[in-house]
């Protein structure tokens, strides 16, 4: 048997990030995939980032992860969403060349010390005395390891729907990991089904680009990863079109043949990413729906029509596409389809993304009921880092809601479970004003360094940045009178007050160059922007401190994982059921379980003290 500490099953965004994180922590790690050439494949839209999602990408990058660096190396279009709004809700997003993205991921994985890439199919988990002992592959190979991370995506019990057609499998042209699914069902894990969908892929050479509005890439040279500067590849533009009444009529005529409406698919799909037939059906009064035509790469004519995910029969898809302005002669290369798949109720996981039912088994990505590359990558980081911790007796990586969007996501998943594929939204983060995409390194570098997740290059960058930030904060202590600010062109009233640069920045009519006109040339622009934003929102983030302190205090009251809620006096059957399913690890977590009342919480607290005493 080959000795490993951690085996990661699945080479998507969760699996690759998990494998790289475990290896960065020093664990002897194996990454198992059906097809090593497909490591890092973007299975759905060719974009990385967005609102909330871009935050996660930057956070994974702060832990020296892969996704942001690969995105920069493959990016053919940059767009900062919400640019006109506060930095907290600005979402960096790129279109990435599929081939180059996968190549970048694969290059990084091959360069990662301590990581072995294995091509094969996972047949069976090896179990010893109720704990994970390794993995048996379909070819009979046995791999030993104390920890296994399942990042199998939609391959568990995956079923494809296209009109009246059915197909077992995950992504197009790949095999489904149904054997593993059967074994997980045998473990008695709570499992359910979800649905997701994808649009048809178009031949860009048959699109009338001249007839459509263009959306150019951002001119500003921002990047996804802090380690990248400037643009690597030439930038392409996207185009925008929209459905018409004729499109809607075609869709309506085909609804009876759509598996979504015929009852063939019963599982819930994502509300924020509905199929076009759903949109036409639910919002019948709208006269059109926007479509973004996104090129899939520099060397391919394929175009991803973002906005028309569908599982209609192929003939209806063709008619629908041709009714859209600019697409009247467009050829479909691969039709769209819907996938129904199994997921493990994430409430059976703890905040390390480990399954309570089997020590050593971790889950990350779509298997936990999430959707999106970024959500998968964030979980991969957490599961990989904690699998390494479990196997090598290191400190766990625990991120709370105040630290990061990753922390918000993990907390949401393990406490609330999911009722639709889970996607990050900035609305989910109560500490949104502090959790910005632009300050991820400031928030997380220390945690990343502590956990041993940073490579030498990143570590040097983090240290230099921290030093620059300290210098900048000293400059922000500089005290200026109103007349001095006004002399530099600041729109302030002459109240004779003397304030620090930090305080002046809160005034709407004041810009940094009016306060510190010189001496900041050497400070990186991103760091400067972050410090200014910190100062601007300081009164609001300070107000959140009390709330945050209360949360962290409650999170220090630990509840044992096997806490017997049914033995708590005064707890109703409903509360017992909710809490037993979520198995919160702290009192703070218990307070966040949906529907748990303050009275129930008080009862839990009293009982917890009794049990511990």
């Amino acid at each position: 048997m080959s000795p490993f500490d951690v085996i990661v099953v699945g080479g998507g965004h969760a699996g690759t990030e998990a494998a790289a994180a475990a290896a960065r922590r020093g664990a002897r790690t194996a990454l198992l995939s059906f097809d090593l050439a497909k490591l890092g494949a973007m299975s759905c839209n060719p974009a990385i980032g967005g609102l909330g999602k871009g935050h996660i990408v930057r956070e994974v990058d702060a832990f020296d992860g892969l996704i942001a660096r690969a995105a920069d190396r493959a990016a053919i279009h940059y767009r900062m969403l919400n640019r006109s709004k506060g930095a907290a809700v600005q979402g960096p997003r790129v279109q990435a060349d599929r081939v180059r993205y996968a190549a970048a991921i694969q290059a990084m994985l091959r360069g990662q010390p301590g990581l072995t890439l294995i091509e094969g199919e996972a047949e069976q988990l090896l179990v010893q005395q109720g704990s994970v002992a390794g993995l048996l592959l379909a070819d009979g190979t046995r791999l030993s390891a104390r920890a296994v991370v399942l990042a199998t995506g939609t391959f568990l019990g995956g079923r494809i729907f296209r009109g009246e057609d059915r197909e077992e499998g995950g992504r197009v042209g790949e095999r489904a990991a149904t054997v593993m699914g059967v074994q997980l069902r045998d473990l008695g894990l709570p499992m359910a089904r979800l649905k997701t969908g994808t649009p048809p892929r178009l031949d860009g050479r048959t699109i009338d680009w001249a007839a459509l509005d263009e959306q150019p890439s951002d001119a500003e040279p921002w990047t996804m990863s802090a380690m990248q500067s400037g643009r690597v590849l030439p930038q392409l533009f996207c185009a925008v079109s929209r459905t018409t009444e004729a499109t809607h009529a075609i869709i309506r005529s085909g609804l009876d043949r759509s598996p979504l409406f015929s009852g063939a698919i019963g599982a819930p799909g994502p509300r924020y990413c509905p199929s076009i037939e759903d949109k036409v059906h639910r919002f019948g009064d709208r006269d059109g729906h926007q479509i973004f035509l996104e090129p899939e790469g520099l060397d391919t004519p394929l175009v991803y029509p973002n906005g028309i995910s569908t599982s209609l029969p192929v003939d209806v898809q063709e008619a629908m596409v041709r009714s859209i302005p600019g697409l009247s002669r467009t050829r479909i290369v691969t039709p769209g389809y819907a996938v129904e798949y199994d997921y493990v109720d994430p409430r059976s996981l703890n905040p390390r993304l480990a399954l309570g039912a089997m020590p050593g088994l971790f889950c990350a990505g779509q298997i936990n009921g999430t959707t999106g590359y970024e959500e998968a990558a964030g979980q991969g980081l957490v599961a990989g880092a904690n699998a390494a911790a479990f196997a090598c007796d290191l400190a766990p990586l625990l991120l709370d809601r105040a630290s990061s969007y990753i922390g918000v996501m993990v907390d949401d998943l393990v406490l609330q479970g999911v009722s639709e594929p889970y996607r990050m939204l900035t609305a989910r983060a109560e500490y949104r004003l502090t959790l910005r995409a632009d300050n991820a390194p400031t928030r997380l570098s220390a945690r990343a360094e502590e956990a041993g997740l940073l490579g030498p290059e990143r570590l040097a960058w983090v240290r230099a940045r921290a030093a620059a930030r300290i210098g900048l904060e000293q400059r922000f202590d500089t005290r200026l009178s109103a007349s001095m600010v006004a002399a530099n062109g600041g729109q302030v009233s002459q109240d004779g007050a003397v304030r620090s640069v930090r305080e002046w920045l809160r005034f709407p009519g004041v810009a940094l160059e009016q306060l510190l006109p010189e001496g900041l040339e050497d400070v990186p622009a991103a760091l400067l922007a972050e410090a200014v934003e910190d100062a601007r929102y300081a009164p609001y983030t300070e107000r959140q401190q009390a709330e945050l302190a209360e949360m962290r205090a409650n999170d220090h009251i630990r509840l044992p994982e096997d806490f017997g809620y049914s033995a708590v006096p005064g707890l109703s059957a409903e509360m017992v059921q909710r809490l037993s399913t979520a198995r919160p690890t702290t009192l703070g977590a218990a307070s966040r379980v949906r529907g748990v009342t303050p009275a129930a919480l008080a009862a839990v607290l009293v009982h917890a003290r009794k049990v511990v005493a």
Binding site: L51, K85, K279, F283, R432, L433, P569, M575, T597, A603
Partner: protein, 431 residues
């Protein structure tokens, strides 16, 4: 879990004492005392006997209710005993000897009802008020709360708040969707929505708190020594609550006398006379306490001839006492003339006090909020007002989050999922 019991009908002696037993052992305990029980929810007459020696304790009406559809959510037994102290004590002693039975702690029945989801927090508070209610107006206000008037009203506000939050969140998370309006006009709509909701909350908050209904309107009698404050207090209370003597400074400390008249509860407070100069340290403390009582009063009855002090939030009735004495016959037009000795002016004073009470008490058709609910809704109203003042949607969203948290603490429910439900129900979102 323990089974608890307590007399629920007020302290004996009384004609009947209602003893409630709640918990998993309630039915077994009742069987131990009464033998076979009547069918659930049917009253039956039973002889209660001490299980130890078979001695007869009482003949009582017995009812039982199986969990979970009971007031506490647990098995519940009611014993309608004869209300003598000895009877009640003997039955309680027998119950306490049953396995895992113990006397209930204060509020424990309500706490169990809350924990078992039979009540939400605001309903539990209303129930507490109902049990304390002594006057008709108190009873009606408390009943409205216990039946969920506060919860329904708060939920109505909360729905509007969620809709406002959904609009801002849509603007923040889905600005690139064409279905989401992201322009100046849309932001103005949200801001004016915040302002309107905040103003509506503020209006309800301006109403008097329910505590005055429950605890009584605080009336403080103040004036110089020997101005007849204690005499008046006794006349209003219709009993000798305060010692009366012709010696100035007889009343050294505050004396409180609760009075119920025409369905309104009052707490009358007699105070030490406000002497200008005194060397007596005890009298000085009495005066300090009198001044403190005046600050906390709802209504000040002013018995000095000097102009009455103006204290924020305190209404003042200036009196002209001892109007029967020589030289005091002329009553100033802005004062009520009084002579307790002659019985002059007391009826007039009461009717003036009752007229003022109408402004001090919540109207019966109005939402009666207690102090905790008021404080939380005040937080929400402030957050809404702040939201209306911002132009940055990010900060509007932050203030609305604050408001939502305050609302959730009134009913004990919290969720970001509520916002997302509102958002996805209203907007066609998703590319």
């Amino acid at each position: 879990m323990d089974t608890i019991f307590a007399v629920s009908s007020g302290q004996p002696p009384a004609a009947i004492a209602l003893l409630r037993v709640s918990g998993p052992g309630a039915v077994a305990a009742a069987e131990a005392l009464a033998g076979e029980l009547p069918p659930p929810r049917r009253a039956g007459l039973r002889a209660l006997r001490d299980p130890a020696d078979g001695g007869l304790l009482d003949r009582a009406l017995l009812l039982w209710f199986p969990a979970p559809h009971t007031a506490t959510g647990e098995d519940l037994v009611e014993l309608h005993l004869h209300g003598g102290r000895a009877v009640v004590r003997a039955v309680e002693a027998c119950l306490a000897r049953q396995p895992r039975l113990r006397p209930a702690e204060a509020g424990e029945f309500t706490r169990r009802a809350l924990a078992n989801g039979r009540l939400d927090l605001s309903e539990a508070e209303g129930l507490g008020d109902l049990l304390m209610a002594e006057t008709e107006a108190q009873r009606r206000a408390a009943l409205a709360t216990a039946e969920g008037a506060v919860r329904r009203q708060v939920e109505g506000w909360q729905d509007r708040l969620l809709m406002l939050a959904a609009h801002v969140e849509a603007m923040l998370d889905h600005a690139d969707e064409e279905d989401v309006a992201d322009d100046f006009g849309a932001l103005e709509n949200i801001r004016s929505g915040c302002e309107a909701l905040g103003a509506e909350l503020a209006e309800v908050l301006a109403a008097p708190p329910v505590e005055r209904l429950r605890d009584g309107i605080r009336v403080v009698l103040a004036g110089p020594p020997n101005s007849g404050k204690s005499t008046l207090l006794n006349a209003l209370a219709d009993r000798e609550a305060a010692i009366v003597s012709p010696i100035a400074g007889t009343t050294r400390d505050r004396i409180e006398a609760p009075v119920v008249r025409n369905g309104i509860a009052w707490v009358l407070t007699d105070t030490a006379g406000l002497a200008e100069n005194t060397d007596d340290p005890i009298e000085r403390i009495g005066i300090a306490r009198a001044e403190e009582a005046m600050q906390r009063a709802d209504l000040l009855l002013w018995l000095a001839d000097d102009p009455a002090p103006e204290i924020e939030g305190v209404q003042v009735l200036a009196l002209h006492p001892r109007a029967d004495l020589p030289g005091r016959g002329a009553v100033p037009s802005d004062r009520i003339g009084l002579s307790v000795a002659q019985g002059w002016g007391i009826v007039e004073l009461w009717s003036e006090m009752e007229r003022m009470a109408r402004g001090l008490l919540p109207r019966e058709d109005m939402l009666a909020l207690n102090r905790r609910q008021q404080d939380l809704l005040h937080d929400a109203a402030c957050a809404l007002a702040d939201a209306a003042a911002h132009h940055d949607p990010l900060l509007i969203a932050e203030e609305l989050r604050r408001a939502r948290a305050a609302f959730d603490r009134v009913t004990g429910r919290a969720d970001v999922e509520g916002v997302l439900d509102a958002l996805f129900g209203r907007f066609c979102i998703g590319k």
